[in-house]
Symmetry: C2
Subunit: 373 residues, 2 copies
């Protein structure tokens, strides 16, 4: 293998595929990035066996292809090396079959490589029937749900995002059983199959980092046990989590006794401020009292003191309600809204709090209250 390529072009694609490489990986060959150069161009592949990313640089974006070939280069060093090279053009040349020379006029790096024959065969398939979403909408949907996935390995399914497709309705749900985020979007055209899958949250986070141009389309190819996203020249394939995701639609109340309209930013500042005096960083519990046309958010820690923040609101009833919840979970939920005005919906101090836009039902955030007595 021997070729020359612009530094920025190879660096961008190496950065993309390297997101599949896990720091926890114990299989040596999977610490490498597979370079596969033929007359079409350069294919780069990286995988942690759960997630595979394959990127393609067509031959017209490569300065010169002098010899085709395949080799596995350790990912740990190659990114840093390319970044620091003082030249626009980088030359690659395999020498002694298991060494690669990466060089410019004044720099040269001679890296030990791994045998491409040892790299696992990973098939990245496309389907004829796939879903197309604008990157902007996909990224927004990820941002609005990903924070609510569980980080606890004890319930593996909850570490994923549940994706359901039925006709032209696509719905994403994430929950760690203390709060829930749900976003639905309407597809441009109906999808033929009924889908109910769970995608590992950590892979979705990596996908989000790779998709940078929000104007482009992303293709989603869904299989029984895997899902493949196609974006620009990149194929991003993730395994699915096995099992039945809890039926979350029952969790979200349809009717509410208390509906409070608030200015998003004021309400956020109110909770943020009150949470300052909560002692534990993990469970920063604040109390919210809705009285007359005000909300008072307060916290109390015997050794420190107490905090009290208030804002004027609009309410549908005059009954008081007092409810306690995690300030962190509420702020996470509030950050997913772009609107100026939102509504806080409640039934009682022990029932879920639902946060919605005043005008759009496609995004629902739910936070469970915390009993403080």
């Amino acid at each position: 293998m021997k070729f020359s390529i612009k530094k920025n072009i190879i660096l961008e694609q190496l950065t993309n595929v390297s997101k599949a490489i896990s720091t926890r990986n114990i299989i040596p060959i999977l610490n490498g990035i597979k370079f596969d150069l033929n007359d079409e161009g350069l294919y780069l592949t990286a995988s942690d066996s759960d997630l595979t990313i394959k990127s393609f640089i067509p031959s017209d974006k490569i300065e010169s292809i002098d010899m085709q070939g395949t080799i596995i280069i350790q990912s740990k060093y190659i990114l840093e090396i390319i970044k620091k090279l003082p030249s626009d053009i980088v030359n690659f040349e395999v020498i002694d079959s298991l060494k690669i020379l990466i060089y410019t006029e004044t720099s040269q790096y001679n890296l030990n490589c791994l045998n491409s024959g040892d790299y696992p065969q990973i098939e990245l398939k496309e389907r004829e029937n796939f879903i197309t979403i604008k990157a902007l909408f996909l990224k927004k949907m990820i941002k609005q749900t990903i924070f609510a996935v569980s980080t606890q390995e004890s319930r593996p399914l909850l570490t994923g995002i549940n994706v359901k497709v039925n006709g032209e309705l696509l719905e994403c749900v994430a929950t760690d059983s203390y709060r829930l985020a749900k976003k639905s979007i309407v597809l441009d055209k109906p999808y033929d199959d009924v889908v109910d899958i769970v995608i590992p949250g950590k892979n979705i986070s990596e996908l989000d980092k790779i998709i940078t141009d929000e104007e482009k389309d992303v293709e989603i190819h869904i299989f029984d046990n895997k899902i493949m996203f196609k974006y620009e020249g990149i194929l991003f394939q993730s395994n699915l989590l096995n099992g039945s995701y809890p039926n979350t639609s029952n969790f979200i109340p349809a009717e509410f006794v208390h509906i409070i309209s608030v200015k998003l930013n004021d309400y956020f500042a109110c909770i943020d401020g009150a949470s300052l005096l909560t002692q534990s960083k993990e469970k920063n519990i604040v109390k919210m009292d809705a009285i007359a046309d005000e909300i008072v958010v307060s916290s109390y820690a015997s050794e420190i003191g107490k905090a009290e923040n208030r804002i004027s609101v609009e309410r549908n009833v005059t009954d008081d309600i007092s409810i306690s919840f995690s300030a962190k979970y509420m702020m996470d939920a509030l950050r997913t809204f772009d609107e100026e005005d939102i509504i806080i919906c409640m039934n009682s101090d022990s029932k879920p709090i639902v946060i919605k836009s005043a005008t759009d039902e496609s995004l629902i955030q739910l936070v469970l209250p915390i009993k403080t007595y």
Copy 2:
């Protein structure tokens, strides 16, 4: 104590004095900031007993002083609270003698306080005879030396910066015994006493953060066992380290066999690039070979591969020299120069490497070579 003040004014000074509060402090009262309000204005004091910072806000910068008084407020919460208050004006009011109410129209925080009677008496004295330095020069001198102080508590004196004053010459030296940084400046007028003191490096780092306006003057008041810096309304007093600092002037060779002129940025990139393949992050050793009119910087790690970067240079002799050193230490030293051209001076592969500006001798960086065989 009762007063109202602009949020930004109190926040700036609280941020300044809080730099004296140590996270390792075990004396409860020293976790607090002392508020002392009289008709001149508000004095804020914080201390970890090794370092004391006192700041003054004159009464004409305070919106209203309704009742004078003194109280100690926990530093941990007050900064965050003031930062997040949604108003321009903040009100302070002591209630029940050991509680302070911090409030705006919509927010109120009720914090437990500490008794001001328990706060240590700390005298911050000025001298008639002091040194004046422009903040710009002081900050630059700190940046050029502080990185070389030792982080090892086993030789406490080396954790400080050695400051010597003799007539109009002020000289700072820092060394961890593997590298040394020395910067001298000429004072506007000679100082009467001969000074040879060691200031704790960590306190100098805090001083550097507090001095933000480089156009202002800083006064330096030196005592037998402490040093006081006066900048704007802030008094910054540090204890000195006891003992005799090593006589470092002997360490720096006066004459050199090899003098190599390099472009600073190219030489830096050369070392940075070669250091990528060094295995240990701590001792990233590179080898530099000066041959004919080139420098070749290289590294080799058997499991990874090898790196080689070269630049053209100007040399005073044609003899080759091959020398190994820590890339990190060399890059730390190079970062202290503003000039485009510097000179690398050497005598042999086992003698100190000295880095200087080609035109200005006031800054000297020294890095010891490492024997690799």
